[in-house]
Symmetry: C2
Subunit: 279 residues, 2 copies
Amino acid sequence: MTIENISQAKVADGWHKQFTHESDTLNCSMRFAIFLPPNASKSSPVPVLYWLSGLTCTDENFMQKAGAFKKAAELGIAIVAPDTSPRGDDVADDDGYDLGKGAGFYLNATQQPWASHYHMYDYVTKELPKLIEATFPVNNVKSISGHSMGGHGAITIGLKNPGLYQSISAFSPISHPVSCPWGQKAFNAYLGMNREDWKQYDATELLNKAQSPLPILVDQGEADSFLAEQLKPELLVAAAEKHQSPLELRMQPGYDHSYFFISTFIDEHLTFHATHLLK
Amino acid sequence: MTIENISQAKVADGWHKQFTHESDTLNCSMRFAIFLPPNASKSSPVPVLYWLSGLTCTDENFMQKAGAFKKAAELGIAIVAPDTSPRGDDVADDDGYDLGKGAGFYLNATQQPWASHYHMYDYVTKELPKLIEATFPVNNVKSISGHSMGGHGAITIGLKNPGLYQSISAFSPISHPVSCPWGQKAFNAYLGMNREDWKQYDATELLNKAQSPLPILVDQGEADSFLAEQLKPELLVAAAEKHQSPLELRMQPGYDHSYFFISTFIDEHLTFHATHLLK
């Protein structure tokens, strides 16, 4: 596992750094970013919040726009932001912004041409944390969060791997991809036509089956133009209530789908995760 | 003066909005952004911090990356970010990133082809504040700040218009454009070959002539790759000392020229301006 440091900038008394590495899981070169708080050291490793971004994003959107570093520095939490899909000339793509590059949906594709590279689920849950924990002054205590497609990723990955993570949060998650245009297009392409295969990557379906083993915090803007057609958090809440899962949905009046919304509430998400990461 | 609202997003309980308008001063259509804190109302207008961005920027860089809104909302300060040059197909440009569009240098050009549109000095000091104060729930109390080329703009504009502004701050300003490559290229093109004409837009030259009538706060990263060749804040300090001008330069170890640096210290700049805007 060789990784290359391609940028670094001091911020909030800590460091933002970008790295590239050859991913065995994705079969291509990948870039990720990490924020290391000022107190992180080999003798005092810190926990990590993994942030999964939404459609069209890279590792940069959250790191440049969320304004998360002051609070993360204060709490002593590292943040890792992977890319949102495999990348490179050899990687299959689609003309739409919602399929292919920038739209990996945090699953393991089974259908060609996607199955050769699109294994973001394994990348985020296995290869990336192994690399992070071998390379940086962090411990193995992790939580997971994300936005939109990445909110879907955070909730499904957290629910399926309760031993790996301490807590889950999401902004404007695609809550029931099986029943919305973004999810149906992606799952049909990546997973094939059998809808039963889709349910393993659907947050609402997972909560319909069993109680969440982890606490979940969700923020959703009421002025989000994708709310009714693509996001459907009310289905997530109904599923959570079925087995008394510890999920809190906060509807935020006036806020939209943008990073302006995320930047307003990210400190509260970091504080939420800190209570579980640092206990 | 008709202006058109082209975007709005709630953030930090206030609003970020973008507008376009036809500028008589620049003879083209311009875009600007404003952040309005939650307490701004017609019956309780708020003061305004004008933010001038650096080379290649638009109104968006600061608004998306600086993370300034929580503090501005708490203090009750509006922020206005103009573009960095005139825009449009009719506007003269240059192949370099440091001349023409995105590089207006906050001066009034006297040389063609630039003199037809490049009057950012008049735009920022006259037309834009008039438009802002006629349109939004703000009062006429103003301060000015900026980054790099915009730091140069903030200091020179503040020094030349002490009746208009309460305080000045800058991140990594081009402190002595007359003596650095960025400044020499731009001033030669916009103002012609007579170097005496350049001095009216040079922060160090202005401080060499007279005491600053306004307090000035400057932050400069020590790891800024432009520090020695382009920025030269030590010349600004020497000039300030000549007439006991109230200028504080803070050298910040490890920080570079990026918005990661700005986001780290913007709250302190807002607090500095608040002591002068809200007194």
